[in-house]
Amino acid sequence: MIVGVLGLQGDFREHLQALERMGVERRDVRTPEALQEVDALIIPGGESTTLSKLMNMYGLTPVLQKQARKGFPVYGTCAGAILIAKEVEDGKPQGLGLMDITVARNAYGRQLDSFETDLNIKTIGKFHGIFIRAPKITRCGSGTEILAEQDGDPVLVRQGAMLAGTFHPELTHDSRVHEYFLRMIG
Protein backbone atom coordinates (compact mmCIF):
# COMPACT_ATOMS: atom_id res chain seq x y z
CA MET A 1 0.00 0.00 0.00
CA ILE A 2 1.23 3.50 -0.86
CA VAL A 3 0.06 6.40 1.28
CA GLY A 4 0.08 9.81 -0.39
CA VAL A 5 0.47 13.13 1.38
CA LEU A 6 -0.90 16.19 -0.39
CA GLY A 7 2.26 18.26 -0.94
CA LEU A 8 0.83 21.51 -2.28
CA GLN A 9 1.40 23.56 0.87
CA GLY A 10 1.64 23.13 4.65
CA ASP A 11 3.43 20.66 6.91
CA PHE A 12 3.33 17.72 4.51
CA ARG A 13 6.98 16.87 5.22
CA GLU A 14 6.13 16.07 8.86
CA HIS A 15 3.39 13.67 7.72
CA LEU A 16 5.83 12.01 5.32
CA GLN A 17 8.32 11.69 8.19
CA ALA A 18 5.67 10.06 10.40
CA LEU A 19 4.98 7.52 7.65
CA GLU A 20 8.72 7.00 7.19
CA ARG A 21 9.11 6.20 10.92
CA MET A 22 6.41 3.59 10.50
CA GLY A 23 8.14 2.09 7.47
CA VAL A 24 5.19 2.79 5.16
CA GLU A 25 5.61 3.39 1.45
CA ARG A 26 4.69 7.02 0.87
CA ARG A 27 4.50 9.67 -1.83
CA ASP A 28 4.32 13.44 -2.08
CA VAL A 29 1.17 14.16 -4.14
CA ARG A 30 0.99 17.39 -6.17
CA THR A 31 -0.73 16.31 -9.39
CA PRO A 32 -3.88 14.40 -10.40
CA GLU A 33 -1.62 11.70 -11.89
CA ALA A 34 0.22 11.19 -8.60
CA LEU A 35 -3.12 11.09 -6.77
CA GLN A 36 -4.26 8.19 -8.93
CA GLU A 37 -1.16 6.20 -8.00
CA VAL A 38 -1.70 6.13 -4.23
CA ASP A 39 -4.04 3.99 -2.11
CA ALA A 40 -4.86 6.59 0.55
CA LEU A 41 -4.27 10.31 1.09
CA ILE A 42 -3.35 12.48 4.04
CA ILE A 43 -4.24 16.17 3.70
CA PRO A 44 -1.84 18.06 5.98
CA GLY A 45 -2.13 21.18 8.07
CA GLY A 46 -1.66 24.41 6.15
CA GLU A 47 -3.88 27.24 4.94
CA SER A 48 -7.16 25.73 3.82
CA THR A 49 -7.92 28.60 1.42
CA THR A 50 -4.52 28.22 -0.28
CA LEU A 51 -4.78 24.42 -0.44
CA SER A 52 -8.28 24.59 -1.85
CA LYS A 53 -7.29 27.09 -4.57
CA LEU A 54 -4.26 25.04 -5.63
CA MET A 55 -6.32 21.82 -5.70
CA ASN A 56 -8.87 23.47 -7.94
CA MET A 57 -6.28 25.14 -10.17
CA TYR A 58 -4.40 21.92 -10.82
CA GLY A 59 -7.36 19.59 -11.24
CA LEU A 60 -6.93 17.57 -8.04
CA THR A 61 -10.40 18.32 -6.65
CA PRO A 62 -12.54 16.31 -9.14
CA VAL A 63 -10.11 13.37 -9.10
CA LEU A 64 -10.13 13.17 -5.30
CA GLN A 65 -13.92 13.48 -5.16
CA LYS A 66 -14.31 10.70 -7.70
CA GLN A 67 -11.87 8.41 -5.90
CA ALA A 68 -13.49 9.10 -2.53
CA ARG A 69 -16.89 8.00 -3.84
CA LYS A 70 -15.30 4.59 -4.44
CA GLY A 71 -14.11 4.35 -0.83
CA PHE A 72 -10.61 5.86 -1.23
CA PRO A 73 -9.40 6.61 2.35
CA VAL A 74 -8.53 10.17 3.37
CA TYR A 75 -7.20 11.56 6.66
CA GLY A 76 -7.34 15.33 7.05
CA THR A 77 -5.54 17.25 9.81
CA CYS A 78 -6.66 20.79 10.64
CA ALA A 79 -6.78 22.46 7.19
CA GLY A 80 -7.24 18.92 5.87
CA ALA A 81 -10.26 18.41 8.11
CA ILE A 82 -11.78 21.60 6.69
CA LEU A 83 -11.20 20.43 3.13
CA ILE A 84 -12.79 17.00 3.52
CA ALA A 85 -15.90 18.36 5.22
CA LYS A 86 -19.30 18.43 3.54
CA GLU A 87 -19.95 21.93 4.85
CA VAL A 88 -17.72 24.80 5.97
CA GLU A 89 -19.60 27.36 8.04
CA ASP A 90 -18.60 30.56 6.24
CA GLY A 91 -18.28 28.69 2.94
CA LYS A 92 -14.71 29.91 2.48
CA PRO A 93 -13.28 27.59 1.19
CA GLN A 94 -15.96 25.16 0.14
CA GLY A 95 -15.47 21.69 1.56
CA LEU A 96 -14.83 18.82 -0.84
CA GLY A 97 -17.79 16.98 0.65
CA LEU A 98 -15.92 13.73 1.35
CA MET A 99 -17.23 13.32 4.89
CA ASP A 100 -20.56 14.23 6.48
CA ILE A 101 -19.37 16.83 8.97
CA THR A 102 -19.67 20.60 9.29
CA VAL A 103 -16.58 22.58 10.21
CA ALA A 104 -16.11 26.15 11.45
CA ARG A 105 -12.73 27.71 10.59
CA ASN A 106 -10.56 29.52 13.17
CA ALA A 107 -13.24 28.63 15.69
CA TYR A 108 -11.09 29.07 18.79
CA GLY A 109 -9.96 32.53 17.70
CA ARG A 110 -6.67 33.84 16.36
CA GLN A 111 -3.10 32.58 16.93
CA LEU A 112 -3.14 33.85 20.55
CA ASP A 113 -5.85 31.26 21.21
CA SER A 114 -3.82 28.38 19.76
CA PHE A 115 -3.07 25.81 22.47
CA GLU A 116 -1.75 22.39 23.37
CA THR A 117 -3.40 19.92 25.71
CA ASP A 118 -3.67 16.21 26.48
CA LEU A 119 -6.50 14.36 24.77
CA ASN A 120 -8.02 10.99 25.40
CA ILE A 121 -8.56 9.16 22.12
CA LYS A 122 -10.72 6.02 21.86
CA THR A 123 -8.60 2.86 21.44
CA ILE A 124 -5.42 5.00 21.46
CA GLY A 125 -5.53 6.55 24.94
CA LYS A 126 -3.72 9.66 26.12
CA PHE A 127 -2.37 11.75 23.24
CA HIS A 128 -0.82 15.22 23.12
CA GLY A 129 -2.95 17.51 20.97
CA ILE A 130 -1.52 20.63 19.34
CA PHE A 131 -4.22 23.02 18.09
CA ILE A 132 -3.11 25.87 15.82
CA ARG A 133 -5.75 28.37 14.67
CA ALA A 134 -7.80 25.22 14.73
CA PRO A 135 -11.27 24.65 13.30
CA LYS A 136 -14.14 23.08 15.22
CA ILE A 137 -16.25 20.22 13.99
CA THR A 138 -19.72 21.61 14.70
CA ARG A 139 -21.87 18.82 13.27
CA CYS A 140 -21.29 15.10 12.81
CA GLY A 141 -23.64 13.34 10.37
CA SER A 142 -24.99 9.82 10.60
CA GLY A 143 -22.44 7.03 10.47
CA THR A 144 -19.73 9.18 12.03
CA GLU A 145 -17.93 8.10 15.17
CA ILE A 146 -16.39 10.65 17.55
CA LEU A 147 -13.00 9.33 18.66
CA ALA A 148 -11.90 12.25 20.82
CA GLU A 149 -13.33 15.44 22.28
CA GLN A 150 -11.86 18.57 23.81
CA ASP A 151 -14.17 20.60 26.09
CA GLY A 152 -17.16 18.91 24.53
CA ASP A 153 -16.13 19.58 20.92
CA PRO A 154 -15.27 16.62 18.68
CA VAL A 155 -11.60 16.84 17.60
CA LEU A 156 -11.14 13.44 15.92
CA VAL A 157 -13.99 11.93 13.92
CA ARG A 158 -14.24 8.90 11.68
CA GLN A 159 -16.75 7.99 8.98
CA GLY A 160 -16.01 4.84 6.99
CA ALA A 161 -12.57 5.27 5.44
CA MET A 162 -12.48 8.98 6.31
CA LEU A 163 -10.75 10.46 9.33
CA ALA A 164 -10.80 14.13 10.31
CA GLY A 165 -8.75 15.65 13.13
CA THR A 166 -8.46 19.29 14.18
CA PHE A 167 -5.06 18.84 15.90
CA HIS A 168 -1.58 18.02 14.62
CA PRO A 169 -0.17 14.57 15.51
CA GLU A 170 2.50 15.17 12.84
CA LEU A 171 4.05 17.90 15.02
CA THR A 172 4.68 15.39 17.82
CA HIS A 173 6.90 12.36 17.41
CA ASP A 174 3.95 10.14 18.22
CA SER A 175 2.68 8.12 15.24
CA ARG A 176 -0.29 6.44 16.92
CA VAL A 177 -2.98 8.41 15.08
CA HIS A 178 -1.27 7.64 11.76
CA GLU A 179 -1.10 3.98 12.80
CA TYR A 180 -4.81 4.10 13.64
CA PHE A 181 -5.57 5.48 10.17
CA LEU A 182 -3.61 2.67 8.53
CA ARG A 183 -5.30 0.01 10.68
CA MET A 184 -8.66 1.57 9.89
CA ILE A 185 -8.16 1.16 6.15
CA GLY A 186 -6.48 -2.23 6.57
Partner: protein, 294 residues
Protein backbone atom coordinates in the same frame (compact mmCIF):
# COMPACT_ATOMS: atom_id res chain seq x y z
CA UNK B 1 -5.07 21.88 30.92
CA UNK B 2 -4.91 23.84 27.69
CA UNK B 3 -1.67 25.84 27.44
CA UNK B 4 -1.45 28.89 25.18
CA UNK B 5 1.57 30.79 23.84
CA UNK B 6 3.96 27.83 24.13
CA UNK B 7 6.96 27.60 21.82
CA UNK B 8 5.42 24.54 20.15
CA UNK B 9 2.29 26.51 19.29
CA UNK B 10 4.33 29.53 18.11
CA UNK B 11 6.67 27.56 15.85
CA UNK B 12 3.75 25.35 14.85
CA UNK B 13 1.97 28.17 13.05
CA UNK B 14 5.12 28.74 10.96
CA UNK B 15 5.07 25.01 10.11
CA UNK B 16 1.57 25.49 8.67
CA UNK B 17 2.77 28.37 6.48
CA UNK B 18 5.46 26.26 4.77
CA UNK B 19 5.32 25.99 1.02
CA UNK B 20 3.40 29.25 1.00
CA UNK B 21 3.73 32.93 0.17
CA UNK B 22 3.33 35.74 2.70
CA UNK B 23 2.48 39.03 0.98
CA UNK B 24 2.97 42.65 2.08
CA UNK B 25 -0.29 44.58 1.96
CA UNK B 26 -1.08 48.15 2.89
CA UNK B 27 -4.88 48.12 2.87
CA UNK B 28 -7.96 45.90 2.92
CA UNK B 29 -8.26 45.83 -0.87
CA UNK B 30 -4.70 44.51 -1.31
CA UNK B 31 -5.28 42.00 1.49
CA UNK B 32 -8.31 40.68 -0.37
CA UNK B 33 -6.30 40.35 -3.59
CA UNK B 34 -3.54 38.50 -1.70
CA UNK B 35 -5.98 36.07 -0.08
CA UNK B 36 -7.77 35.52 -3.37
CA UNK B 37 -4.43 34.73 -5.03
CA UNK B 38 -3.71 32.03 -2.43
CA UNK B 39 -1.37 33.79 0.03
CA UNK B 40 -0.92 31.81 3.28
CA UNK B 41 -0.70 35.04 5.29
CA UNK B 42 -0.45 38.79 4.81
CA UNK B 43 1.93 41.30 6.34
CA UNK B 44 0.04 44.45 7.24
CA UNK B 45 2.12 47.59 6.86
CA UNK B 46 1.77 51.27 6.09
CA UNK B 47 4.26 51.49 3.25
CA UNK B 48 5.94 48.71 1.29
CA UNK B 49 9.75 48.71 1.53
CA UNK B 50 10.19 50.22 -1.97
CA UNK B 51 8.21 53.29 -0.85
CA UNK B 52 10.02 53.49 2.47
CA UNK B 53 13.23 53.64 0.44
CA UNK B 54 12.03 56.44 -1.83
CA UNK B 55 10.18 58.53 0.75
CA UNK B 56 12.70 58.16 3.57
CA UNK B 57 11.87 59.36 7.08
CA UNK B 58 11.42 57.19 10.14
CA UNK B 59 9.48 53.99 9.41
CA UNK B 60 7.36 52.80 12.33
CA UNK B 61 4.69 50.27 13.25
CA UNK B 62 1.44 50.69 11.27
CA UNK B 63 -1.54 52.62 12.57
CA UNK B 64 -3.69 50.07 14.48
CA UNK B 65 -6.72 51.14 12.41
CA UNK B 66 -4.99 49.79 9.32
CA UNK B 67 -4.00 46.53 10.98
CA UNK B 68 -7.53 46.02 12.32
CA UNK B 69 -9.07 46.77 8.95
CA UNK B 70 -6.90 44.09 7.35
CA UNK B 71 -7.61 41.59 10.15
CA UNK B 72 -11.33 42.09 9.58
CA UNK B 73 -11.01 41.59 5.83
CA UNK B 74 -9.19 38.26 5.54
CA UNK B 75 -9.42 34.90 7.30
CA UNK B 76 -5.77 33.94 6.71
CA UNK B 77 -3.19 34.89 9.40
CA UNK B 78 -2.24 38.55 9.64
CA UNK B 79 1.32 39.55 10.52
CA UNK B 80 2.59 43.03 11.34
CA UNK B 81 6.00 44.65 11.78
CA UNK B 82 7.49 46.30 14.82
CA UNK B 83 10.80 48.18 14.97
CA UNK B 84 13.86 46.25 16.16
CA UNK B 85 13.93 46.45 19.95
CA UNK B 86 10.63 48.35 20.20
CA UNK B 87 8.90 46.08 22.69
CA UNK B 88 6.04 48.51 23.21
CA UNK B 89 5.11 48.42 19.52
CA UNK B 90 5.20 44.63 19.95
CA UNK B 91 2.93 44.87 23.00
CA UNK B 92 0.47 46.96 21.00
CA UNK B 93 0.47 44.50 18.10
CA UNK B 94 -0.08 41.64 20.53
CA UNK B 95 -2.98 43.53 22.11
CA UNK B 96 -4.50 43.97 18.63
CA UNK B 97 -4.36 40.19 18.27
CA UNK B 98 -2.12 39.89 15.21
CA UNK B 99 -1.04 36.31 14.48
CA UNK B 100 2.69 36.96 14.05
CA UNK B 101 5.06 39.89 14.63
CA UNK B 102 7.98 40.59 12.30
CA UNK B 103 10.68 42.41 14.26
CA UNK B 104 11.94 43.97 11.10
CA UNK B 105 14.98 45.83 9.78
CA UNK B 106 12.67 47.37 7.16
CA UNK B 107 11.43 49.72 9.90
CA UNK B 108 13.81 52.16 11.58
CA UNK B 109 15.42 50.40 14.58
CA UNK B 110 14.41 51.65 18.02
CA UNK B 111 17.22 50.10 20.06
CA UNK B 112 20.87 50.22 18.94
CA UNK B 113 21.89 47.18 21.00
CA UNK B 114 18.97 44.92 21.84
CA UNK B 115 16.17 43.09 20.15
CA UNK B 116 12.81 42.43 21.79
CA UNK B 117 12.78 39.70 24.46
CA UNK B 118 10.37 37.55 22.51
CA UNK B 119 9.93 34.95 25.25
CA UNK B 120 7.83 37.51 27.15
CA UNK B 121 5.13 37.39 24.48
CA UNK B 122 2.39 34.89 23.65
CA UNK B 123 2.34 36.03 20.04
CA UNK B 124 5.09 34.44 17.91
CA UNK B 125 7.88 36.45 16.23
CA UNK B 126 9.73 36.10 12.94
CA UNK B 127 13.12 37.80 12.53
CA UNK B 128 15.52 38.39 9.66
CA UNK B 129 19.05 37.00 9.46
CA UNK B 130 22.03 37.28 7.14
CA UNK B 131 24.02 34.43 8.61
CA UNK B 132 23.74 31.67 11.19
CA UNK B 133 25.10 33.82 14.00
CA UNK B 134 22.28 36.29 13.52
CA UNK B 135 19.67 33.53 13.13
CA UNK B 136 20.75 31.76 16.33
CA UNK B 137 20.87 35.01 18.32
CA UNK B 138 17.27 35.66 17.31
CA UNK B 139 16.33 32.11 18.35
CA UNK B 140 18.01 32.69 21.71
CA UNK B 141 15.73 35.72 22.12
CA UNK B 142 12.67 33.59 21.42
CA UNK B 143 12.00 33.96 17.68
CA UNK B 144 9.79 31.11 16.40
CA UNK B 145 10.55 31.61 12.73
CA UNK B 146 13.50 32.96 10.73
CA UNK B 147 13.70 34.62 7.33
CA UNK B 148 16.59 35.87 5.25
CA UNK B 149 16.96 39.62 5.34
CA UNK B 150 17.86 40.00 1.69
CA UNK B 151 17.65 43.64 0.67
CA UNK B 152 14.02 44.70 0.93
CA UNK B 153 12.42 47.04 -1.58
CA UNK B 154 15.01 46.52 -4.32
CA UNK B 155 13.45 43.75 -6.41
CA UNK B 156 17.01 42.38 -6.59
CA UNK B 157 17.25 38.83 -5.25
CA UNK B 158 21.04 38.68 -4.89
CA UNK B 159 21.16 39.52 -1.18
CA UNK B 160 18.53 36.92 -0.25
CA UNK B 161 20.53 34.34 -2.21
CA UNK B 162 23.72 35.40 -0.46
CA UNK B 163 22.07 35.03 2.94
CA UNK B 164 20.47 31.62 2.41
CA UNK B 165 23.65 30.24 0.84
CA UNK B 166 25.71 31.41 3.80
CA UNK B 167 23.21 30.06 6.35
CA UNK B 168 23.13 26.69 4.55
CA UNK B 169 26.92 26.57 4.39
CA UNK B 170 27.24 27.38 8.09
CA UNK B 171 24.64 24.74 9.00
CA UNK B 172 26.67 22.15 7.04
CA UNK B 173 29.74 23.31 8.92
CA UNK B 174 27.98 22.87 12.28
CA UNK B 175 26.74 19.40 11.36
CA UNK B 176 30.18 18.20 10.32
CA UNK B 177 32.14 19.78 13.18
CA UNK B 178 33.27 17.77 16.22
CA UNK B 179 31.78 19.14 19.42
CA UNK B 180 34.96 20.86 20.61
CA UNK B 181 35.08 22.93 17.43
CA UNK B 182 31.54 24.21 18.01
CA UNK B 183 32.89 26.41 20.79
CA UNK B 184 35.14 28.16 18.31
CA UNK B 185 32.33 28.58 15.77
CA UNK B 186 30.12 29.90 18.52
CA UNK B 187 32.72 32.55 19.36
CA UNK B 188 33.52 33.37 15.76
CA UNK B 189 29.88 33.85 14.75
CA UNK B 190 28.53 35.15 18.05
CA UNK B 191 26.18 32.16 17.95
CA UNK B 192 24.85 30.75 21.25
CA UNK B 193 26.51 27.35 21.75
CA UNK B 194 23.35 25.61 22.98
CA UNK B 195 21.56 26.46 19.74
CA UNK B 196 24.48 25.28 17.61
CA UNK B 197 24.29 21.96 19.50
CA UNK B 198 20.58 21.80 18.77
CA UNK B 199 21.24 22.40 15.06
CA UNK B 200 23.87 19.68 15.11
CA UNK B 201 21.47 17.21 16.74
CA UNK B 202 18.58 18.01 14.38
CA UNK B 203 20.67 18.51 11.26
CA UNK B 204 18.77 21.73 10.49
CA UNK B 205 17.54 24.99 11.97
CA UNK B 206 15.07 24.18 14.76
CA UNK B 207 12.46 26.51 13.22
CA UNK B 208 11.01 27.27 9.80
CA UNK B 209 13.17 29.48 7.56
CA UNK B 210 11.58 31.64 4.85
CA UNK B 211 13.14 33.73 2.08
CA UNK B 212 12.63 37.50 2.07
CA UNK B 213 14.09 40.68 0.68
CA UNK B 214 14.10 41.44 -3.03
CA UNK B 215 11.98 38.66 -4.54
CA UNK B 216 10.01 39.93 -7.56
CA UNK B 217 9.19 37.02 -9.88
CA UNK B 218 7.90 33.42 -9.74
CA UNK B 219 11.41 32.34 -10.78
CA UNK B 220 12.92 34.25 -7.83
CA UNK B 221 10.53 32.44 -5.48
CA UNK B 222 11.31 29.02 -6.97
CA UNK B 223 15.04 29.80 -6.81
CA UNK B 224 14.81 30.44 -3.07
CA UNK B 225 12.76 27.26 -2.60
CA UNK B 226 15.32 25.20 -4.52
CA UNK B 227 18.00 26.70 -2.29
CA UNK B 228 16.15 25.16 0.65
CA UNK B 229 13.86 27.87 2.02
CA UNK B 230 10.54 26.68 3.50
CA UNK B 231 8.46 29.44 1.89
CA UNK B 232 8.72 33.07 0.80
CA UNK B 233 7.81 36.60 1.76
CA UNK B 234 7.12 38.97 -1.11
CA UNK B 235 7.02 42.62 -0.21
CA UNK B 236 7.10 45.32 -2.84
CA UNK B 237 7.38 42.71 -5.62
CA UNK B 238 3.62 42.22 -5.93
CA UNK B 239 1.88 45.54 -5.49
CA UNK B 240 4.66 47.49 -7.24
CA UNK B 241 4.22 45.38 -10.37
CA UNK B 242 1.94 45.80 -13.37
CA UNK B 243 -0.64 43.13 -12.62
CA UNK B 244 -0.53 42.40 -8.89
CA UNK B 245 -3.28 39.76 -8.88
CA UNK B 246 -1.76 37.69 -11.67
CA UNK B 247 1.76 38.01 -10.30
CA UNK B 248 0.59 37.08 -6.81
CA UNK B 249 -1.16 33.96 -8.11
CA UNK B 250 1.87 33.02 -10.19
CA UNK B 251 4.24 33.31 -7.23
CA UNK B 252 1.93 31.11 -5.13
CA UNK B 253 2.00 28.44 -7.86
CA UNK B 254 5.77 28.76 -8.30
CA UNK B 255 6.33 28.01 -4.61
CA UNK B 256 4.30 24.79 -4.89
CA UNK B 257 5.84 23.63 -8.18
CA UNK B 258 9.32 25.05 -7.55
CA UNK B 259 10.96 21.88 -8.86
CA UNK B 260 8.95 21.61 -12.07
CA UNK B 261 10.55 23.74 -14.79
CA UNK B 262 7.79 23.06 -17.35
CA UNK B 263 5.13 24.30 -14.93
CA UNK B 264 7.31 27.28 -13.95
CA UNK B 265 7.54 28.26 -17.62
CA UNK B 266 3.73 28.27 -17.90
CA UNK B 267 3.35 30.11 -14.63
CA UNK B 268 5.82 32.85 -15.65
CA UNK B 269 3.99 33.78 -18.86
CA UNK B 270 2.27 37.08 -19.46
CA UNK B 271 2.58 38.62 -16.02
CA UNK B 272 3.27 42.14 -17.27
CA UNK B 273 6.10 44.29 -15.98
CA UNK B 274 7.67 43.27 -12.67
CA UNK B 275 8.58 46.03 -10.21
CA UNK B 276 11.31 48.18 -11.72
CA UNK B 277 13.62 47.73 -8.80
CA UNK B 278 17.05 48.93 -8.04
CA UNK B 279 20.27 46.96 -8.13
CA UNK B 280 21.29 46.23 -4.54
CA UNK B 281 24.94 46.95 -5.44
CA UNK B 282 24.05 50.55 -6.34
CA UNK B 283 22.92 51.33 -2.79
CA UNK B 284 25.09 53.47 -0.54
CA UNK B 285 26.00 51.80 2.79
CA UNK B 286 23.58 54.08 4.67
CA UNK B 287 20.75 52.99 2.35
CA UNK B 288 21.10 49.30 3.22
CA UNK B 289 18.32 47.89 5.38
CA UNK B 290 19.99 44.54 6.03
CA UNK B 291 22.70 46.02 8.25
CA UNK B 292 20.14 47.21 10.79
CA UNK B 293 20.16 44.99 13.89
CA UNK B 294 22.88 42.37 14.25
Amino acid sequence: MAERGTFKVKSGLAEMLKGGVIMDVTNAEQARIAEEAGAVAVMALERVPADIRVQGGVARMSDPTKVKEIMETVTIPVMAKCRIGHFVEAQILEALGVDYIDESEVLTPADPENHVDKFKFSVPFVCGARDLGEATRRLAEGAAMIRTKGEAGTGDVIEAVRHIRLINKQIRQVISSPEDELVRLSKEWGAPLEILKLIQAEGKLPVVNFAAGGLATPADAALMMQLGCDGVFVGSGIFKSDKPDRRARAIVQAVTYFNDAAKLAEISEGLGEPMKGREAKSLEPQELLQTRGH
